[in-house]
């Protein structure tokens, strides 16, 4: 079990859930954001902090397969659920087809938005393996990208959809 740096302030039970298929348990206040738990307690730095306001999508993860803003989701609500993050999608040595497609299209500049976008794209393809361009755009419309890689990102998702 991982524990919070500071002393416990209230009696509480550890919160148990799975992340990328592995059982995890954290001893944090229920209101602690899932984003902080993933990054600071579980060492999964791939989910990024962008705004903390559900406005940019940089922190998107999947909870039971559904895209969720990790920045505002309280960890207490995750108990018993299954969380998927970018680290579970693939690694540089074993890329997920989406990650491969993003590299093939060079879909990114600074890359800060990509983890969240990839997770939303995964959720889309899991439920709709052959989405239209309009469906891809709609699924990504909650995400912001400031460098202007949008066209490449949409093309990368289309590439995977075509191969499905």
């Amino acid at each position: 079990m991982l524990s919070l740096g500071g002393p416990a302030r209230e009696a509480r039970l550890a919160i148990a859930f799975t992340v990328n298929g592995s059982a995890k348990s954290v001893d944090v206040p229920e209101t602690t954001s899932l984003l902080e738990v993933l990054r600071n307690h579980l060492g999964l730095m791939g989910t990024r902090y962008g705004c903390g306001l559900e406005q940019c999508g940089a922190c998107m993860v999947l909870v039971d397969g559904q895209p969720v803003f990790a920045c505002t989701r309280e960890t207490g609500t995750i108990a018993g659920r299954s969380v998927a993050t970018i680290e579970g999608l693939g690694t540089p040595d074993r890329l997920h087809p989406l990650q491969q497609a993003f590299l093939d299209e060079q879909a990114g500049q600074c890359g800060y938005c990509l983890s969240g976008i990839l997770m939303s794209a995964k959720a889309l393809l899991d439920s709709n393996p052959k989405p239209s361009r309009a469906e891809i755009v709609a699924a990504l419309d909650r995400h912001l990208c400031r460098c202007g890689a949008h066209q490449r990102i949409v093309r990368a998702v289309e590439r995977v959809a075509r191969a499905a």
Partner: protein, 702 residues
């Protein structure tokens, strides 16, 4: 006689600042330019690999490191390939020649007898047992380059010119700890700040007890004068303290703003340094005067992630990790702010969210360092809050541009005055007229300095791209450098280029209409520059210009052209739009001449990104003020272009030759102007003020 060395080499004359042969048969190439998502690390590696005859995989690029790397100031102005690439090319050519000399001595042959394959030196195609690594110990890397070794000719390049995949992207698509934000050393303390609302504001009281109650955890409060930081081993505790602090802090001497301050029109008549550049004042009365005025409001860098830095002060030495655009300048600016000798500071670059100019990255580095100095021996990770990023980053200055043109009897410009009102475009500490933000809050704030803009020789600031490339017999600039803007302003991608190109290219369409000529044909009639003509002709072809419909149909096609800084890449853009209550951009065509392109796909990525960012600025963006400062502090208050609003973009590089022309900022100005012209074509009415918002369109249609 040798050509003059690039400035970067003059400033960093030792070879070992640039190149080092590692024991694992790789070579470390160092650059002062840093990766900001533009692919520079990959492109510079390509240059080094070709010049050394090494496989790309053997090059390790070290970027932005004050301990080992060169000082190349900031990563700005689309200059990295020209400045750093040019230096790396010369250094590698020199080292290659020196290494071959040493090997030839050992082999008792002429250097000309040797060839280089995978870093090994071959004689008559046979291995000699000699390579870079066997002879490196005999080369004096403390020497400056003589400039005697000739770099390769372009036709010898094998790796330069290839669309090599970006080195940094695999980590970024797989969620590795790619950014400074992701570095969490053992025992790290998280820090947040309470920002001084404006320089001169004084903290009258701070209810620390109330803040501690709100923070609900272990908390240190670091204070000096008007600088406050909240520090905790638990990130959410530091965050909660900072969020609560605003309500528990009382400030005096807050700045007072009015709604007028957020508009470019406010600039006219403000105290300014007036500069006259170019042709002398016209002595004759204009015969056929035309005047247009365009404006652009304050706009934000609006990085996807807030500024962040890591700092540690241990045994009298401060190490700072930052995503700023220049580590050597950061170190120089930190030293006086912290009262440390410069030798006591190391600054190392780590990736960050895209910055597009001078945002809060450097300021966050000082914030982190201030906390680290007060809590020695502990790594301090200081991250700005989202509202802090929007509220306190320097913003791109509002600009007002008026063109006064006198036409000849054929309707061509005979005399042209560009009048510009803008606050400074560069308040980078050290190179401009500004300071690291927190210095203003410390006990002895620095003295107010006179604002300056980059000199015209470096592309200018407010005057950037103010000189038209068209054949104009007499052109002059009246630059009103407004002395005190309402908020801090500094470099944002392209500086004044976007409003200036917007003005020039809107005018071109207006002048064409006055003489009843097609806008493309009109431009070509006064454009002698062959590389420019080629792009204008190409963009007309790509966009189906000859089939352009009538004006006022609600559908529009517009185009625009510029050469960034009048000396970097050339770029022409065409935009197809549909205008109802809002502007919908249907398609963009973009064509650029960037000379010798190191990485074509990387260059196209920059063109596309510049197009999309400029569309966002032109259609949607304006920083909003309230009574005391910037009020647009989240993405709802500062909307940017979304996936559903991004058009299909065709980006193309024409076959270029000669030297590399910086490409990172060239597409922004032409994109804005092409959309402005397309909207005018769609509506039959011209909208001169950006952004081209719903309100402005409704007003134009009324």
């Amino acid at each position: 006689m040798n050509a003059p060395l690039p400035g970067s080499l003059v400033d960093n004359p030792r070879l070992d600042r640039w190149i080092h042969f590692n024991e694992d048969r790789t070579v470390r190439i160092a650059s002062g330019k840093v990766e900001i998502g533009q692919g520079v690390v990959t492109a510079l590696s390509q240059i080094a690999a070709d010049e050394l005859d090494l496989p790309f995989e053997r090059v390790r690029l070290l970027s932005g490191d004050t301990e080992h790397g060169p000082d190349e100031m900031y990563t700005t102005s689309s200059l990295s390939i020209e400045m750093s690439g040019g230096s790396i090319r010369l250094v590698c050519a020199e080292v290659r020649a020196k290494a071959l000399d040493r090997a030839a001595l050992r082999l008792n042959c002429s250097p000309d007898d040797l060839t280089v394959v995978d870093g090994q030196f071959l004689q008559n195609g046979e291995a000699t047992g000699q390579d870079y690594w066997t002879v490196a110990g005999e080369i004096d890397f403390t020497q400056p380059p003589s400039g005697a070794a000739k770099p390769k000719q372009a036709d010898a390049y094998k790796i330069v010119g290839q669309s090599i995949k970006r080195l940094d992207l695999p980590a970024k698509v797989t969620g590795q700890a790619a950014y400074v934000h992701d570095v969490l050393p053992r025992d790290v303390l998280h820090a947040r700040t309470l920002r001084q609302p404006n320089p001169g504001a004084a903290l009258v009281s701070l209810d620390e007890a109330a803040i501690r109650r709100a923070a609900k955890g272990e908390l240190q409060i670091v204070r000096e004068a008007n600088f406050v930081a909240f520090v905790s081993p638990v990130e959410s505790v530091a965050e909660a303290a900072a969020v609560a602090a605003a309500a528990h802090a009382r400030w005096d001497h807050l700045r007072q703003l009015t709604p007028a301050h957020e508009e470019a029109a406010w600039l006219e008549g403000q105290p300014a340094e007036d500069r006259h550049i170019g042709a002398p004042p016209s002595t004759t009365a204009p015969k056929n005067p035309v005047k247009i005025t365009v404006s652009r409001p304050y706009i934000a860098h609006a990085s996807m992630g807030p500024s962040c830095a890591l700092a540690e002060f241990r045994d009298g030495h401060l190490t700072v990790w930052s995503h700023g655009q220049g580590m050597h300048p950061l170190r120089k600016n930190l030293a006086p702010a912290l009262g440390l000798p410069i030798e006591a500071i190391t600054a190392r670059h780590l990736h960050g969210p895209g910055c597009y100019g001078h945002n809060g990255a450097d300021d966050a580095a000082l914030d982190a360092a201030l906390v680290a100095m007060r809590i020695p021996g502990k790594p301090i990770r200081l991250q700005w809050r989202r509202e802090e990023e929007f509220g306190f980053e320097p913003v791109g200055p509002a600009m007002l541009v008026t063109l006064h043109v006198d036409l000849d009897d054929k309707g061509r410009p005979a005399d042209w005055t560009t009048e510009i009102w803008s606050a400074t475009h560069v308040q980078r500490p050290g190179s401009g007229s500004g300071y690291l933000l927190a210095t203003e809050a410390l006990t002895n704030p620095p003295p107010e300095v006179k604002p300056t803009d980059p000199p015209e020789a470096r592309g200018g600031g407010g005057t950037r791209n103010a000189v038209p490339l068209y054949d104009v017999p007499a052109h002059r600039i009246l630059h009103h450098l407004v002395q005190r803007g309402p908020v801090r302003t500094s470099a944002l991608r392209g500086l004044g280029a976007l409003p200036n190109v917007y003005a020039i290219e809107m005018l071109m369409d207006e002048l064409a209409a006055r003489v009843g000529e097609d806008p493309v044909a009109y431009r070509l009639s006064i454009l002698s520059e062959p590389r420019g003509r080629r792009l204008v002709e190409r963009i007309a072809e790509l966009s189906g210009w000859s089939a352009r419909g009538p004006s006022g149909s609600g559908k529009g096609l517009g185009m625009a052209f510029a050469r960034y800084k009048n000396k970097a890449a050339y770029c022409a853009v065409a935009a197809a739009v549909t205008v109802e209550e809002i502007v919908k951009v249907d398609r963009i065509w973009c064509v650029a001449d960037a000379g010798l392109v190191v990485n074509p796909d990387g260059a196209r990525n920059q063109l596309e990104g510049g197009v999309i960012q400029a569309l966002s600025w032109t259609l949607k963006e304006q920083v909003r003020f309230d009574a005391h400062g910037i009020a647009s502090r989240d993405w709802d208050g500062y909307p940017i272009l979304r996936f559903s609003e991004v058009p299909e973009i065709h980006a193309e590089l024409v076959d270029g030759s000669g030297s590399t022309l910086g490409v990172g900022e060239c597409s922004c100005g032409p994109t804005a102007a092409a959309v402005g012209n397309a909207v005018a074509h769609a509506l039959g009415v011209r909208i001169h003020d950006m952004p081209l918002s719903r309100e402005r369109i409704l007003r134009a249609l009324a």
